[in-house]
């Protein structure tokens, strides 16, 4: 069993009118089965309302399944006694950097998680230092979070999660409110954690560029997993992605169009280097 596994996961939002009668039911997640292995970098892709954030909140036991089961590190998230274990094992970083920083000073915020876990004082300091170094924010430990850039704030949030020593981090659209620079910073930090510390990363996003380095990609649509595979496999199905209203990176799209007009190119080209190599440039030198 992997670190995160879901089986027939269904979640329904129930809308009620003022008297509490059921007005309508929206199925946000519908029969989802995913299996994430320890140490993997997994991306979950989908446009707004595809259910990807709802899925993410199940991994951290913020939402409980209406039907089906979610296991985190072998523990059923729906069971009350597993709640704190699950939340410690699977950390979560949210979209808005301002709304998830609790401390007034960077280091105090990173210490918030370990404090809640009841970690002894000296160890908290150790963990805070390690975590801030892991995301490259150690020099800012005494700063006020209000004075940091969006990318820096998100890295602090990630450090706050690492300090709890999770096995898995769920990043729920961590870059949606950031500029391109901040986006790169955050993704780089997430990849480094995956490479160096071996922490499982589940990245929820709608930016195609961010999933290139993932081991596995799930594409969600209307609450269901519509596509599943490596980034290369996913990107070679350009027409399907377009139907799901997802933008393909420009290079991939260009390669796809070139191929359609008769050029001989491999499927699923992800970077400029690959395309230029496939087109025969660089050979001349």
């Amino acid at each position: 069993m992997g670190i995160v596994e879901t089986k027939n996961l269904v979640f329904e939002y129930i809308r009620r009118d003022e008297e509490g009668n059921v007005e309508g039911i929206t199925r946000a997640v519908d029969q989802v089965d995913i299996d994430v292995k320890q140490g993997e970098f997994v991306a979950v892709l989908g446009h707004n309302g595809s259910g990807k954030s709802t899925l993410a909140k199940h991994i951290n036991a913020i939402l409980y399944p209406t039907e089906g089961t979610v296991w985190v590190d072998g523990k059923d998230t729906a069971k009350e006694e597993n709640l704190w274990d699950v939340r410690q094992k699977a950390g979560m970083v949210f979209q808005n950097p301002d709304n998830q920083i609790i401390g007034q000073v960077v280091e105090e915020d990173v210490g918030f998680g370990p404090e809640n876990l009841g970690v002894p004082t000296e160890e908290i300091w150790q963990r805070v230092e390690e975590s801030l170094r892991a995301v490259g924010m150690y020099e800012f430990r005494r700063h006020s979070p209000n004075k940091l850039s969006g990318g820096q704030k998100q890295r602090v949030s990630i450090a706050g999660v690492i300090a709890m020593h999770p096995k898995c981090i769920v990043l729920d659209e961590p870059t949606a409110m950031l500029d391109p620079n901040g986006r790169r910073e955050v993704i780089r930090a997430a990849r480094a954690l995956n490479d160096v510390e071996g922490i499982t990363i589940i990245l929820i996003t709608h930016y195609m560029e961010e999933i290139i380095h993932a081991n596995k990609v799930f594409v969600m649509d209307k609450g269901k997993v519509a596509m599943e595979g490596t980034p290369r496999e996913i990107f070679s199905r350009v027409e399907e992605l377009k139907e799901l209203r997802l933008d393909v990176p420009q290079v991939t799209l260009l390669a796809h169009e070139l191929k359609k007009s008769g050029l001989k190119l491999p499927d699923g080209i992800l970077t400029f280097e690959e395309l230029s190599a496939a087109l025969g440039y660089g050979k001349k030198k």
């Binding site: 950390g91 979560m92 949210f94 609790i102 401390g103 000073v105 280091e107 210490g111 998680g113 404090e115």
Partner: protein
Amino acid sequence: MLRDITLGQYYQTDSVIHRLDPRVKLMTTICYIISLFIVDNFIGYILAGAFLALVIKLSKVPLKFMVRGMKSIIFLLIIAVIFNLFLTPGEVIFTLWKLRITREGLRQAIFMAIRLVFLIMGSSVMTLTTTPNNLTDGMEKLLGPLKIFKVPVHEIAMMMSIALRFIPILLEETDKIMKAQIARGADFENGNLIKKAKSLVPLLVPLFISAFRRANDLAMAMEARCYRGGEHRTKMKPLVYKKRDWLAYSTVVCYLVCCVVFGKILL
């Protein structure tokens, strides 16, 4: 205009005052406020002024930060001064139409002004040199004994620290909404009081909605990080009194004694 409030804003630097235990700073601030109401002669106020000046000097916080906080109370200050100036009975020294200024009134007004200024500056020193988290930690510890009476001390402290953290964010947001509404033709400057109050509605409604959304997000983020109230919680920065804290306490006691002796008894 909204950025001028410094209360609840931490000034980042390293000084003796910054390193003091927040409990010491809280108690000192309370003692200082009491002392301002004990003394009622000039020697007393000189003493209070000297004490404040010393603390400000030691705190290394530029004076302009404290003065900036003063702007928000200038209106209150003027009203207090005017009332004291004209409405205190006693020996008349100056008459203007029906208004009489008395010697006692003049004295009262000056003292009131000094008192208010010192009071605001004194409490700004505390908030400028103590991180809000630290401050609420101190309060939690000081109020700890109230837990016996089922007072949710930890929860109150946590709420306060979160409120303080969100002050600058919400101020920024207010500014943003204000600009957005001005761009749509809203007028916050002109008109009488009622009109001005009405013009605040398009400012406050979006602000409240956004504040609720933020609160919801924050609660989720806190839960995701295993927050479950004050039980079983350890402290990253536990409060332990050091030598300098006891030194500060004794200084404050000396100051209070001096205030009582010189500011009250000797007239």
